[in-house]
């Protein structure tokens, strides 16, 4: 058991190194059920992946997301509020990762709107804050992200997203945020089926191809699955929607570390 603990700590320290450089944690359990291949998706959590999707939001919405890490110290939470305004949709979010002695947070303000029929765009300002207890102190970074969404026809949509596109914005401790580019498509071959494909390139890592599907089993119940590479992960999820309420549960499986659950709850007024 002790070996497992040490192993997990090692894994955690590895992940912490990565995240200390200010990784852009994805949120949303519908997205997590579909390998986060969600750059072309337009739902409440879409603005974590592509702010252009905000244009499709029609009602004031509130959402909460929780991801249990491989160990409790790696838990991850997010809170989002979406407010339609006359010219588009405004959104605010707060995301938190870590535990008492190591904490990362991201506070963001986003705006998305239609620029033409079937074409929307969005932009978001991010404030990253990292705090390590003891002598290490804290650091903060500021950047922005933007996305575009294009509805080709009733079956196809394409989305692109740029995180920290200029890359040079420095934080308080001189660390650089990664530049991440995402390009994906959504395909709806039939009414109950939705498919997603995406490639995500973080300049610090190998490109991540993703493929996912969502199937509406009965009127308000969905099944989801997806895969992504580098590392190879499998994703499975369930979704329940009734009136304005949506509840999603998703699991991602790593061949060595095992599975972790993601949960999201949202309400559209």
């Amino acid at each position: 058991m002790r070996c497992v603990g040490i192993f997990l700590l090692m894994q955690m320290s590895f992940l912490m190194q990565v995240t200390a450089s200010g990784d852009n944690h994805p949120a949303g359990a519908r997205s997590a059920g579909m390998a986060h291949a969600s750059v072309a998706l337009t739902d409440l959590w879409c603005f974590y992946h592509n702010q252009a999707g905000l244009a499709y939001i029609e009602a004031l919405s509130l959402g909460f997301f929780h991801q249990a890490g491989y160990i409790p110290e790696m838990d991850h939470q997010a809170l989002a509020l979406l407010v339609p305004v006359p010219s588009g949709v405004l959104a605010g979010s707060y995301t938190q990762y870590g535990f008492k002695h190591y904490q990362e947070s991201k506070t963001a303000l986003a705006y998305g709107r239609y620029l033409a029929k079937n074409f929307s765009a969005g932009i978001q300002l991010d404030y990253f804050h990292t705090r390590i207890s003891g002598i290490y102190g804290s650091a903060h970074q500021l950047t922005f992200e933007a996305g575009m969404h294009f509805r080709v026809n009733d079956q196809w949509s394409v989305g692109t997203h740029f995180f920290n596109p200029l890359g040079a914005i420095k934080g308080g401790n001189g660390e650089l945020l990664p530049v991440i580019f995402r390009l994906g498509a959504l395909w709806k071959p039939s009414a109950p089926l939705l498919m997603l494909v995406e490639v995500e390139k973080n300049l610090e890592k190998q490109a991540i191809p993703k493929l996912a599907a969502e199937y509406q089993l009965i009127s308000n119940f969905c099944l989801r699955t997806g895969v992504s590479l580098n590392p190879a992960l499998h994703f499975f999820g369930l979704g329940y929607a009734r009136k304005g309420l949506q509840a999603d549960l998703a699991f991602s499986f790593h061949p060595t570390l095992g599975g972790i659950p993601n949960f999201a709850l949202s309400y559209a007024f």
């Binding site: 071959p189 039939s190 109950p192 089926l193 498919m195 493929l211 599907a213 199937y215 089993l217 699955t225 895969v227 590479l229 190879a232 992960l233 499998h234 499975f236 499986f253 061949p255 060595t256």
Partner: protein, 694 residues
């Protein structure tokens, strides 16, 4: 007229307009089956006879499966349908009545026009009831109506191999294993008799290169002799097999004596739904049972029982005081060419007995399986860490429960097994036809390190149904009517050590294939394969450093073009890259021409291939057209070219085949090693085959 006459009529008109029936090409075996055999060959260093896979298809060319009469078992023999598609077809037939024509088939949920085109040579929409074919006629009628087939094959490698060179007697006395005892030719003969699928009977005889014929240890003829008799739908039993047969239960966790179908571009192959028993007609000298097997239906229940007793090859290391032999491993090659191999030949008696009781309902199937086996000796493996949980002793047993169920668009399947009260193995999965253009599947497996099943053949990445956990995810998509995508991702982990690694290994492998078929003349595909393995692999020594990372990348582009009604051209380019502490790369390009005369019964295939690989690790495999029921999937490695000519000519009821192949290397002075070493830079083979049907 059935109630669906209008839609089926519309479909018929539509399909007649938009595609013409596919003319018989020179080789009837679908490309994906070739891919699958190619993949199977890559996993084993031994040259297997894949006859059991293609024999049914060749048979269906002559006696197509009647989709208005066929049951689930008959349809599974096509190898091209998933359990869900079979269920869907049967359901449609039940709901709307018989098919008026094959053009109605795309109306069945899960069947695309493209799939129907591939099935077309093997199926027919005939009369639902054909007189006199479901029950065996009396013996005289049987002999009149049945068909005999006699096959003879001879050939071998033309260059002299080290093991066939003459040696002085004095040297041979010192080193008896320095020379093969027999001739360098391979001889194969088979007689078979078939009355529809109700009665099958046959004798297969085979002599491998280097084995003796009609002398020494084989005084009566061939080294391997096999007999089978198989009767279906007789008065007392549904199926009866005498002699050699194959047994397959559930998902293969307890017993699966055929090929354990692995990952390939046929992404739904991991779901096992084949028949429980079949006559054995291949020439592989293990992987079958010999004795008696029977199956009987009692209402919805079906009982299958078998008993097999034969002598097998084993590596004998000692003899106990009571005369029992001790052996360290089973010999699976089937070669008996030198005294050392002949000493191990048929050295251990083996008895296997098993049974299966299943409940078969239209929407689900449940089964209870049991298997017991004994050896006349004692298996003692070398005391090494990787053998710590592997089977040793003289008897063992496996028990399992399996299920299959169809609900809505989903097909659930699985098997849970236990071995001799110790380790257990679990396999569970689901496949779903989520739209008429998209199907997918997920399979989870957990085989404990001490699950010992010597006759199992369930889906796995490793060589055994043991010490493995994994998750397989497959998808098949018809993006456009003529563009299809197939892919899978399999992640796995071996918690205990293996021969190739002194630490737990994990990894994943994936495949993505795009098939483009605009019209009937052109077909191309692009295939990408990637594998990643954390831990030693392919290393000869067991002290391979742990947690090494290995990656494999393969890209293939293949184009097939029908130039005229009788000439087909195939081109392929494949590139392989191995990322490891010792990286290597390889490339292979080929041109094939297939010709089938429309005037005379002549057909030939020619290939010219060039290859350039850094070493054996970056080798590239390619399926070759060959004599009927002979399979060659050579590994192209090093630098050189390979060419072959394969001719078929028919005269009355006799078919002749000839295959001449030659591989020449520009960077080698000798080929092979040990007794198979050839001095020179080329290796050629010549095979001749004759088949007579009467």
């Amino acid at each position: 007229m059935p109630s669906n006459s209008l839609p089926s009529l519309m479909a018929m008109i539509f399909l007649c307009l938009c595609h013409q029936a596919m003319a018989q090409t020179s080789d009837p075996i679908p490309g994906e089956i070739k891919d699958w055999i190619e993949q199977l060959s890559q996993e084993s260093e031994l040259a297997y006879d894949y006859r059991t896979i293609t024999e049914d298809l060749y048979h269906f060319l002559e006696e197509p499966v009647n989709i208005n009469r066929a049951g689930a078992e008959d349809l599974s023999r096509l190898h091209l349908l998933t359990p869900y598609q079979i269920h869907s077809l049967l359901n449609y037939r039940k709901q709307y009545g018989n098919f008026l024509s094959l053009y109605e088939l795309p109306l069945v949920y899960g069947f695309s026009v493209e799939l129907v085109k591939r099935l077309e040579p093997f199926i027919v929409a005939g009369k639902p009831k054909e007189e006199g074919l479901r029950q065996l006629p009396p013996v005289t009628g049987l002999l009149q109506k049945g068909r005999h087939q006699l096959m003879l094959r001879a050939g071998g490698i033309l260059e002299k191999q080290q093991g066939f060179l003459s040696l002085p007697d004095s040297l041979l006395a010192q080193k008896p294993n320095a020379r093969f005892k027999g001739s360098p030719f391979r001889l194969y003969s088979q007689w078979s008799f078939r009355y529809s699928d109700l009665l099958r009977m046959g004798v297969t005889m085979d002599k491998d290169p280097g084995e003796t014929f009609m002398r020494n240890d084989n005084p009566y003829g061939f080294d391997f002799n096999s007999f089978h008799l198989y009767i279906k739908n007789s008065r007392w039993l549904d199926k009866l097999a005498l002699g050699d047969y194959d047994i397959r239960y559930g998902q293969g966790l307890t017993v699966w004596s055929g090929f354990s179908l692995s990952k390939s571009s046929m992404v739904f192959v991991p779901i096992r739904h084949q028949t429980t028993m079949d006559p054995y007609t291949s020439s592989n000298e293990n992987r079958f049972f010999r004795g008696l097997a029977a199956e009987k239906s009692l209402g919805s229940f079906r009982l299958n029982l078998f008993y097999s007793r034969k002598r097998i090859d084993a590596n004998i290391i000692d003899t106990l005081a009571d005369g029992r032999k001790v052996f360290s491993s089973f010999q699976r090659t089937g070669y008996h060419r030198i005294p050392r191999e002949i000493y191990d030949e048929r050295s251990i008696g083996e008895q296997v007995s098993g049974g299966r009781l299943s409940l078969n309902r239209p929407h689900f199937r449940l089964g209870l399986n049991g298997l017991v086996y004994w050896y006349e000796g004692r298996l003692e493996r070398p005391a090494r860490p990787e053998n710590a949980f592997r089977f040793s002793g003289s008897s063992n047993n496996n028990w399992s429960f399996d299920y299959q169920a169809t609900w809505h668009l989903f097909h659930f399947f699985g098997e849970e097994a236990i071995s001799a009260g110790e380790g257990f193995a679990l396999l569970n999965g689901v496949s779903a036809q989520l739209s008429d253009r998209m199907a997918m599947m997920v399979l989870h497996r957990h085989y404990e390190k001490d699950y010992q099943a010597l006759y199992s053949g369930a889906f796995s990445e490793g060589p055994r149904t043991q010490n493995e956990q994994g998750l397989y995810w497959g998808i098949q998509l018809d993006l456009l009517p003529d563009l299809a995508m197939k892919g899978y991702l399999d992640t796995w982990r071996f918690p205990w050590l293996s021969y190739f690694s002194d630490a737990p290994v994990d990894g994943w492998d994936g495949l993505l294939k795009l098939d483009y078929k605009p019209g009937t003349k052109l077909h191309m595909h692009l295939r990408y394969q990637q594998e990643r393995r954390n831990g030693g692999f392919g290393a000869e020594e067991t002290d391979a450093p742990a947690l090494e990372q290995h990656g494999k990348y393969r890209i293939r582009y293949h184009i097939r073009y029908r130039l005229t009604s009788s000439i087909t051209s195939d081109n392929r380019i494949e590139w392989a890259s191995i990322h490891s502490p010792d990286p290597s790369r390889g490339l292979m390009i080929y041109q094939d021409i297939g010709y089938k005369s429309s005037r005379c019964p002549l057909r030939f295939d020619i290939r010219y291939a060039v290859f350039d690989t850094d070493d054996y690790h970056s080798r590239i495999y390619a399926y070759e057209d060959d004599l009927l029921y002979r399979f060659s999937v050579p590994a192209y490695y090093s630098r050189g070219y390979r060419t072959y000519l394969n001719i078929k000519y028919s005269w009355k009821k006799i078919d002749f085949w000839l295959k001449l192949a030659r591989t020449a290397y520009v960077d080698k002075e000798e080929i092979g090693s040990g007794l198979q070493l050839i001095e020179g830079n080329h290796k050629s083979s010549l095979y001749f085959q004759m088949r007579m049907r009467f």
